[in-house]
């Protein structure tokens, strides 16, 4: 007793100091990895080539060049069109999954998620094979070229579809059977229940989904790069200005313009999320669909058509990568998987991607989850914790192209103490982690909020240091969420092109960038092969993750559902 009252001052400060240090480290990570690069980029956009301040001259110049301004309109056009297409398709499919008794729902859900495992370059490549000058279905375009808005919209829709489907499935799954029963008891026709109960119930999910899809569409780089042809959009303009013309200032200007719609939709989305909280009461009874052969049949046909298109697109890429010489010599070969002497770095690029993905998954999961824990579960330093939370939300508003370019500006500065990072794998890890930080952060926070708020207090009352309670209780109990985060980071690190396209060097080429270079150099079959390789890698990891989660949950079943 006496000993414990003499020691405290030192012990206390040590535990609180460790938490403080961890918080400051977390903040430093986001300041260096996000805030400073973005600020540097903003500064660059108002400087000339010599680094002198010139006000808005760059922006004025930008708006005087029709070719550049045109991209704004074109970006908006393809993004809006893709958004409309994706949201309607995804809504119908989500409705089929949650509100009908159509057969084979689980199979459909698995198939519908597949596009997320591929880089956005893959559908673009497949579309070229399907509708290009030598494609099977080129007549279906009735003389229009796939290289342009048609191809961009189709490719983007394919790649963004799973994101929209996941959001809408969640929104539609939250239903209250009591409302429908009440409507039925009052003799309400089905179409009216749909308009007065179903739609209002999912309106926030629908709006949120629309903004997420729009942001993904307007910031995507992979699809327009491969299939855009002469049709330029903002994301490809950034690339062209920086890599093509070495005009970094104009790259910064386009980035700032690209940042605007993303920031705007981010703000709207956050406002909506805040409203959504009290949507569903805890007493709601989930609605169970009852069989209706005609409706179920129609939805089944529709959903499986969508799944069929997804399989066709992926299958085309796989087939194209295996064919000797499309369309003249259709015998199968593995030659295109050799990548020998071709652009892009070949298998070593794939190994680099693997290294990157594993590093991001491992480091990122721990960093993000621990930071979320500091924000949610530790006490004291409230302003720092709020600051960290705010910073963790920001990456969602920053398009990959913008983040990548911002990294060049910041880390490539002479005299920057982090300059040594430039051109290493480490900068790619940092960039990818920051790029995908927000979703992981939100997943962590949701998981942590579900825990008993007093675990930490109990640990403290038993004189157990916080890191032991974190390791023995918090982490194991949140394991499913932690695994979800790690596989999300892995897949994204494997498939992303936009941010890293500015940051690799000859030693750190990545598979996704290799796809781009192989395509640019005209090795279309090898580009398809590399894209398929990325897809298969993600698929294997995803399957391993599913198996691991299953095993862990069965093991944990003993304490999770012991009653």
């Amino acid at each position: 007793m006496i000993a414990s009252t003499l020691m405290p001052a030192r012990l206390r400060s040590s535990e609180a100091l460790i938490r403080l240090a961890a918080l400051l480290l977390g903040l430093a990570l986001l300041v260096v990895g996000l805030l400073l690069p973005l600020l540097t980029m903003l500064v660059k956009s108002v400087q000339d080539r010599n680094g002198d301040f010139i006000g808005l001259t760059n922006f004025i110049h930008y708006f005087q060049v029709p070719a550049l301004v045109n991209s704004i309109q074109q970006s908006l056009f393809v993004a809006l069109l893709s958004t409309m297409l994706v949201v309607s398709l995804a809504f119908l499919c989500a409705y089929g999954i949650t509100r009908t008794c159509m057969p084979g729902k689980r199979v459909f859900r698995v198939l519908a998620i597949l596009p997320i495992l591929a880089p956005s370059l893959l559908p673009a490549i497949s579309l070229v094979y399907l509708f290009g000058n030598q494609g099977w279905f080129r007549e279906a375009l009735m003389g229009q070229s796939i290289y342009g808005p048609i191809g961009i919209v189709m490719g983007m829709s394919f790649w963004i579809f799973p994101h929209a489907l996941m959001i809408l499935t969640t929104a539609l799954a939250n239903s209250d059977a009591r409302l429908y029963e009440a409507a039925e008891a009052l003799g309400t026709p089905k179409w009216r229940s749909f308009l007065t109960i179903t739609l209002p119930g999912v309106r926030y999910g629908l709006i949120s989904c629309t903004f997420v899809v729009f942001t993904l569409a307007i910031t995507d780089f992979g699809v327009p790069k491969i299939i855009g042809g002469q049709y330029s959009v903002l994301a490809t303009d950034v690339y062209r200005q920086v890599v093509g013309q070495q005009n970094f200032q104009m790259g910064a200007v386009v980035s700032v313009i690209l940042l605007l719609p993303a920031v705007l939709s981010f703000i709207v989305d956050r406002l909506i999320q805040r409203r959504q909280v009290a949507q569903l009461s805890a007493r709601a009874v989930p609605w169970q669909p009852t069989p209706a052969p005609l409706r179920d049949g129609l939805f089944a046909i529709f959903c499986y058509s969508v799944a069929g298109v997804i399989l066709l697109v992926i299958g085309t890429a796989v087939y194209a990568s295996l064919v000797q010489f499309w369309p003249y010599k259709l015998s199968l070969t593995l030659d295109h998987y050799g990548f020998d002497g071709l652009a892009g770095g070949g298998w070593s690029a794939w190994f680099n991607s693997l290294k990157l993905a594993f590093s991001v998954a491992l480091i990122g999961t721990l960093v993000v989850f621990f930071n979320a824990w500091l924000i949610e579960k530790s006490d004291g330093f409230a302003p720092l914790r709020q600051g960290l939370h705010f910073m963790a939300m920001l990456p969602m508003a920053v398009p990959g192209m913008v983040l990548g370019l911002a990294y060049i500006f910041f880390f490539n500065q002479a005299g920057n103490p982090f300059n040594w990072l430039y051109g290493t794998l480490a900068i790619l890890v940092l960039n990818t982690l920051i790029h995908f930080y927000t979703v992981c952060h939100l997943t962590s926070v949701t998981a942590l909020k579900q825990l008993d708020p007093e675990f930490e207090a109990v640990g403290a009352s038993l004189k157990v240091p916080f890191w032991i309670t974190f390791r023995r209780i918090t982490l194991p109990v949140s394991l499913p969420a932690v695994l979800d985060i790690s596989v999300y980071l892995f897949v994204n690190a494997m498939t992303t092109v936009s941010a890293v396209v500015f940051l690799y060097n000859s030693d750190t080429r990545l598979a996704s960038v290799a796809v781009l270079h192989l395509d640019e150099a005209g090795y279309f079959a090898s580009a398809a092969a590399m894209a398929v390789l990325i897809f298969l890698t993600s698929l294997v990891v995803k399957l391993l993750h599913a198996a691991l989660t299953h095993v862990l949950l069965t093991k944990a079943q003993r304490w999770r559902q012991a009653t």
């Binding site: 207090a457 023995r472 109990v477 944990a556």
Partner: protein, 373 residues
């Protein structure tokens, strides 16, 4: 469930004298922004005492408990535990065990792992820990449950595991935050007695937060009644029940009749046109006062010449009858709890008239300005 009958490790809490002060709180204030949750609380708790913080939700009782634990540090004021100033210490360095309303049992650890959680950290050897856990489990009547997970236990069992976990490190102070409120009524009554017996045998100083007056009355050595961040009264259950110092305490603990009355002299009052005797009340100068009397202290008589009332309704409540009365003279409602035998002796019937006798010792007067809740 049997009573907690297991043997105790001797001398755990034996060395402290009962008369010593365990905890001394002075001028404790806690503010959340503009809201003051605790206003200059002064409180002393003796060694081995079982104290209940009682009050409606939002009265500050849990805030006070969390301040004592260091989980929600006070804005100002001092907390002295056994002569040491712990006011600024974080929870890790204070000496207490705590049981939360939710129990906060670690779901991924077995009962053994939960109870041993604080022991492992003290680098005790395995055998010591095992012996201690076995002893604690016997103490809370859960011997043999070591390898079960919390989800496999009933609410009452979980509560007892949480209690064992809190006691494992032999804290000198046990804090209980509404430990029984998540349980079924029957289990609650059962566990109430067991916890009190356990506390008495261990002699561990205990503070329990509750909003259930019955719990406080049956378990506590002393009750601290709180309202709006201040202590209304500190006293034994009997004091709090028999001599509530304010109208709030009188309303919150037990049921109470309130009547408008006029003080007359230093130990009398007038109710309508009737003069009654009471204990000295010190409200001589007030024109009006509130008379408080418990329903069970209201005696009914056949004689209707003095204070009388009309019977408006009779409720049968098993052991006694609750009679709804209306005072004829002063035109006010009154409740009386009477035994069946007494009811017979006055020939109780709805719309009948009965005489009312309010014993001087049972009457309390409060200033009229207070708002009855």
């Amino acid at each position: 469930m049997q009573s907690m009958t297991a043997a105790l490790s001797p001398g755990l809490y034996a060395e402290v004298k009962k008369s010593d002060t365990h905890l001394a709180i002075t001028q404790l204030t806690k503010r959340f922004g503009d809201f003051t949750a605790l206003k200059q609380i002064d409180l002393e708790i003796q060694e081995g005492e079982f104290v209940c913080f009682l009050g409606p939700s939002g009265c500050g009782k849990t805030t006070l408990l969390r301040a004592i634990a260091g989980l929600a540090p006070q804005s100002s004021g001092k907390i002295i535990q056994r002569g040491c100033d712990v006011s600024t210490l974080p929870p890790q360095e204070r000496d207490f065990g705590i049981v939360f309303q939710s129990y906060a049992l670690f779901p991924n650890l077995t009962v053994y792992g939960n109870i041993a959680y604080g022991l492992r950290n003290r680098r005790e050897d395995r055998h010591c820990i095992r012996a201690r856990v076995t002893e604690l489990l016997a103490l809370v009547d859960l011997a043999g449950s070591e390898s079960k997970y919390p989800a496999a236990l009933s609410g009452g069992q979980q509560q007892r595991v949480a209690l064992a976990r809190a006691l494992a490190t032999e804290p000198s102070l046990l804090l209980l935050d509404e430990p029984l409120s998540a349980l079924d009524a029957r289990v609650r009554v059962n566990l109430r007695g067991q916890m009190k017996a356990l506390q008495r045998r261990l002699g561990v100083t205990t503070i329990m937060v509750t909003h259930d007056q019955e719990e406080a009355l049956t378990m506590a050595d002393r009750i601290v009644v709180m309202n709006h961040g201040v202590i209304e009264q500190i006293g034994t259950p009997e004091e709090v029940y028999r001599q509530p110092v304010s109208e709030f305490v009188a309303t919150f603990v037990g049921s109470m009749n309130f009547l408008d009355a006029v003080p007359e002299g230093s130990s009398g009052l007038r109710l309508g046109s009737q003069c009654l005797k009471c204990l000295p009340h010190g409200l001589d100068d007030s024109p009006r006062a509130r008379l408080a009397v418990r329903p069970e202290d209201v005696a009914l008589t056949p004689c209707t010449t003095g204070l009388s009332a009309t019977v408006q309704g009779i409720e049968f409540l098993g052991a006694f009858l609750r009679v709804r009365l209306h005072l004829d003279d002063s035109d006010q409602p009154l409740l009386a709890d009477v035994s069946a035998r007494d009811a017979e002796s006055v020939a109780l019937a709805v719309n009948g008239r009965v005489g009312i006798s309010l014993p001087a010792a049972a009457i309390r007067l409060y200033p009229a300005s207070e708002v009855a809740s």
